[in-house]
Symmetry: D2
Subunit: 299 residues, 4 copies
């Protein structure tokens, strides 16, 4: 088993729905294929972008199986299995492992603010039931809980919790992870507008939905930093930052779906209560994409 199977750009697919708001698995596989062939270094279904919390258990399982089949080992897969209860999290983690996932991502969802001990016990309970590695994910904006660096350190003591994804948007957290936990800890950036700063701070990878729209720019940024080419990295980053900020500000599922439409790709429907971007927001996105790609879009 590879304990840290990811580096570079880890792409997050959306979960598309049909006109009756049912999951469209066929379209999902098509969108997944685009991510693989356009150079992403890993694939992460059932993340925030994939509206994990809005799906039924059966839908999550279908997405998981479709991902493993479609990716077919070309790049490693990271399956989101987060759930409010420990029991359900275990259920989905085991399902992902059995289906062939390379790793699972777990965010400590919380309705009631969890204590540090509850969070550790939660990860521990899941970790004891599977053998594949776990990426612990900190994103206070969606989970409602902000795991302190000290807590992340505790989680890393659990044998198969081997990776940290930080989406709090604070570059100091990454400085801390690198400084306190040593060069060998694998941490990943989940905050799109921090892409450059995080790679420079030593992040192993970038967890992002952006490859649905601008895969080359994402991968080129990673390569520029790898090649120690700071000037090029800076230019590549400033070329894509407006898009990175836009998709975060508008909500990834809404923004990616609208962007796919602009690029001439079918992104399916959203599930209520989520609604499409307004026409003004779509126009703004079209302009950002036009500036980046130097193309004029009709739709």
């Amino acid at each position: 088993m590879n304990k840290v199977p990811f580096k570079g750009v880890i792409a997050y697919p959306i979960t598309p729905f049909d006109k009756d708001e049912k999951v469209d698995i066929y379209l999902f596989r098509k969108l997944l294929e685009r991510l693989v062939v356009s150079g992403s270094h890993g694939i992460a279904p059932l993340g925030s972008t994939g509206v994990l919390p809005y799906l039924t258990d059966e839908e999550k399982e279908a997405i998981t199986e479709a991902t493993i089949q479609q990716v077919a080992g070309r790049v490693p897969t990271l399956v989101g299995v987060s759930n409010l209860t420990t029991e359900k999290t275990i259920h989905h983690a085991k399902f992902a492992e059995n289906a062939g996932a390379d790793a699972v991502m777990i965010i400590p969802m919380s309705y009631w603010q969890l204590t540090d001990d509850e969070i550790v016990a939660h990860y521990d309970a899941v970790a004891s039931k599977i053998s594949i590695p776990i990426m612990a994910y900190n994103n206070p904006a969606t989970s409602g809980v902000d795991m302190s660096p000290a807590l992340l350190k505790r989680l890393l003591e659990i044998p198969n919790v081997t990776m940290i994804k930080e989406s709090s948007g604070d570059i100091q957290r990454m400085h801390y992870l690198r400084k306190e936990l040593g060069e060998n800890v694998a941490f990943y950036n989940g905050s799109n507008p921090l892409a450059l700063a995080a790679f420079v701070a030593g992040a192993n990878g970038w967890c992002t939905a952006a490859p649905n729209l601008i895969p080359e720019l994402n991968v080129d940024l990673y390569n520029a930093v790898q090649n120690n080419d700071l000037e090029n990295a800076q230019n590549l980053f400033y070329k894509q930052i407006d898009l990175l900020k836009f998709i975060v500000a508008k909500g990834l599922p809404r923004a990616i779906k609208a962007g796919l439409h602009i690029l001439g790709e079918d992104g399916g429907q959203l599930r209520s209560p989520l609604k499409p971007l307004s026409s003004q927001e779509s126009s703004e996105l079209k302009e950002i994409l036009s500036t980046i790609t130097d193309k004029v879009y009709q739709s």
Copy 2:
């Protein structure tokens, strides 16, 4: 139909679990009975206190039916039916109406931050499918979205959205609701430490889990304000404030369960990842309860 069926103290039962973390319906009914006979003016199952989001659909339905049967019309019932997706919210709202609930409470749960338009459409979709009144519930700490007074005003334009529950903890919100929406809008306080200030500001009722532990003090506070007896209200409030702050700070399900145990009542188990209070926290709670009731507790 009574469009505003609640006033006074609306009590929130916990959802107790057995040692296998299954819902214990028998114990739930027993705890419910305590709330009714101790003078609460309304009963609200499946709230935050009742760990709604940690339950399966079947468990929610069982709790709903058990509540209607046990309360048996002695006081009005307010059933929580919130869900991340609109479809599921409609499902549970219809179930509650069919089961005989007097009203439903809906908080706009959000993983992805919802826009105002999405929230309005969400309530509108549910409201159009049921006939009983809806209490719209604002609690940024648990839902992740803070509904502005302007948005609450829009929600009140939906015919059967007739009540607002405010738990943001800011007394100015209640001043705004009373001032802007007029004396006829029914607003309820969901922030325990604001109990006195909210009643004085004109709140119709107090949504609280405290009657599980100190029902008389809760009801007496309401009566003192009703009787224009400010000095007594102040004394009653200061007598219970430490408990009100404690149960909020520690998380209502954890704190109520621990408090029931101290009072010699069985509160069942919690569902993971939630864990019991530490023994130090329980001792602190025991001291608070002893000071209030002037009794010494063994457990």
Copy 3:
């Protein structure tokens, strides 16, 4: 010496400037007289409303002397003597005592965030140099430091620190002060929109600039609470709340000056960089005052 010389409505005069932005002492005395004769229970020059930090030492001394002379013992006076350095704070505190002030108010101004020990030493150093009582003032929005209830408790151990003014806008702070420090601690509310809730929570007084514009409503609210007439207090509060919120939102010196002009009184000029309200803001204020007083204003 009266250790707690204040209760009820403590009025804050503005410091008016002439067209060259020099302090206009003649006009200041005129505005002060209005506050005394309209029923305020105390007068507090050189507060935030009086733009204390924008004045030179000489100007502060002139204001202090003018206040004592004009008020002439009719009501007690509370002189603001806060300064960034301990040495200057002592200087002004001694000046106020010599001039005949009944008490001084001190907020721990801070450019560099002060530690609790630094704040205690600061108050202690001043207190040891004067005999009149000190009101410790907590207002994070203007001072940049939020004194915790625990720190306020420490300050109250200094013999002549006998009063607390709380302007953090959080009613829970007042609950804490009353609950933890006992019924004998004198605490005052400095947050205008909390006026009703604070009196109900047991505040001894209300420190406010509002009597420059609506003295009767302010005093009537206090009296209603004193008379245990909750319904009347509620009505009086809701009648004035829009004004209370407006003057806080726009900045007290700007708003009071504009309000005086609307009422036909000369409020003088502001000192740069402070500028008058925009004409749209003034219109808004005129409408609020018209609604309250049932009069039409020309200016």
Copy 4:
């Protein structure tokens, strides 16, 4: 006149006091000389580090003159002239220009939250009275006002406002400045823990008190980024980050004075209410410095 006279490391001296808390100009010049000879690219007296707001007008003028004389043109000087009132800010800006400063730094100090229009008028009034360039400084933590990127854009339209110093600690602000205002806008980082990320984002310089303690590491980091040597920059940054975080967390004047003492240099006294670090804090600082310099310190 050079409109953008600074790049690289701009060093901030502390203002030392004698045992009577009077400014010690002789010691100040000695500390200044250390900064110049150790390679700093610019010198900025009367900043936050130099406790500007705690000084009298005469003291500020003495510091200004001493700086110009001691630096003697070896590197450019940036004199802090911020004041609450516009009139005083103009006074000190003119004094600095006459004394020979290369530029002045102005932060919009505010007791009353200033409107955007008031801030623009404040800078405009000062700018019209001097010919040397102005660095506009954004630091919400000390000034109490957070200038939005849009406001900073407006300030840059004033002819001699040619530089921006950003200390809000948010790397996105620098991305915005570079992206929206173009490559030609000179922006400087004032947040020590952002040193690496800010240089990578394109900052022209780093405004910092750290050269009082570790001048070589500061300058080497700048040079590494200039030389496009990302790996070296990362190593140099992680070597100094603990010190950078410590001096910010403890307050620059307190921490620099303690650090100088550890290094065997006299940093003088602080002015009350500021007090020295506790002995425990000093020990922590000694350990950080020992780790960085690989030396053992006695004091």
